[in-house]
Amino acid sequence: MELEFKHRQAAHCENGVASNLLSNQGIEISEPMAFGIGSGLFFVYLPFVKVNHAPAISYRPLPGLIFNRLAKRLGLKVKRIKFSNKTKAQQVLENTLENGIPCGLQVGVYHLPYFPDEYRFHFNAHNLVVFGKNGSDFLVSDPVMETTTKLTAVELEKVRFAQGAFAPKGQIYYPVEIPNHIDWEKAIKKAIKKTCNDMLAPVPIVGVRGMRMVARAILKWPKKHGVPKANHYLAQMVRMQEEIGTGGGGFRFIYAAFLQEAAQKLNMPSLNDFSKEMTQIGDSWRDFAVNAARVYKKRKNGEDVYEQLSKELFDLAAREEVFFKKLKKAIT
């Protein structure tokens, strides 16, 4: 059985699945639009949580949040089911497919056979769509892949029941109710406001304040942990920023694309200028990645290189603070 499903490659898994699932239900929505309305742009620094033996830095909100916000703002009803029983998990998936509904799934990345080695970590908040079953193989549309792929029942079970942080617990989700009319303007404005508030949040580890906290921490890393560890931390930060899913520059380019699309949809040309500015900020994030990678590669560094990186990050925080304050004003 194979359901009709149009696969489109995306930069980020969650927006990609969201945009693909909705487009297949007749709501034409691009990935940047899904990302923007889901208020996907974010920054958080969690020095007390270690990921790959380095402090956690995330450029996106918690997994599942983007899709949930998107659904709420567009007025969709989404059904989410988690399982404790593996057999039941497969049965429900098969039944849902039989009813003609392609399903979004949360999975772990580590056991995905089609992923290259350098991406295989115990990261459990990946998303993909299953849109059919051919013999014993499930047909898979993984938004970060160029084409659709297949997983055997055993492989699928393994990734659906990956363990550890954000364990997916076999979770499936799909939209059950599609509204007749969507108020795009309201949804977009609400979403932009939320992003501005997030990035300007009066919380020391979130948004521009979080960036400043990292900027201060970078100065301390080499003294506190030694150069190899400091460089390892930097490398992990760059990975979070540039690795698969962010579309480059820690999602800044996707967000700029969203602002451009929003300018058209809301007939607000001023948003085009915001889009341009966000692109420039994204370019600066890319420069930061280039410099951080260079520090890593050279290994032996004076203290001034960390000062330089820290300064760059302070600068980015300052620019984004101005940006989101302006954007917040413009949207109300």
């Binding site: 995306a10 350098e118 363990q163 550890g164 690795e243 520059g249 380019f253 700029a256 341009k276 990645a289």
Partner: protein
Amino acid sequence: MKESEVPQDTSSLGENSLKELCYAVNEKGEYVTALSAGWEPKTIVQQATLDAISVRIEEAKQQVEQGIVSPIVYYMELQRMDLTTLAAYVKLWKWRVKRHFNPTTFNKLNSSILERYATVFNITIEELKTFGKR
């Protein structure tokens, strides 16, 4: 990022690397999507991460051979896990898994506990028990 500047540094990390979708601005200033074959700074940090893992695996191997830690530590590193992830996979409390890192405690483990580890590591109990002993 301009469309013409989307990096195409073919990754040195292996041929099955995938092409990633990027958002970039074309000549008219409109956002379009473009595929990137790879980007050098990214390859550097990815290579760095893989290297760090290899170092951890090698260290664990030596420590097992010297009798400092149990083979569980080696296989945990080999599977790129940390204590939290491993404990979740074998469905044991973290403090219990930590105790099993001790070779003396490890040698006393019954086969049902060893079986759990072996299944998660995708090896036999024999392989788990004899690793590092020659």
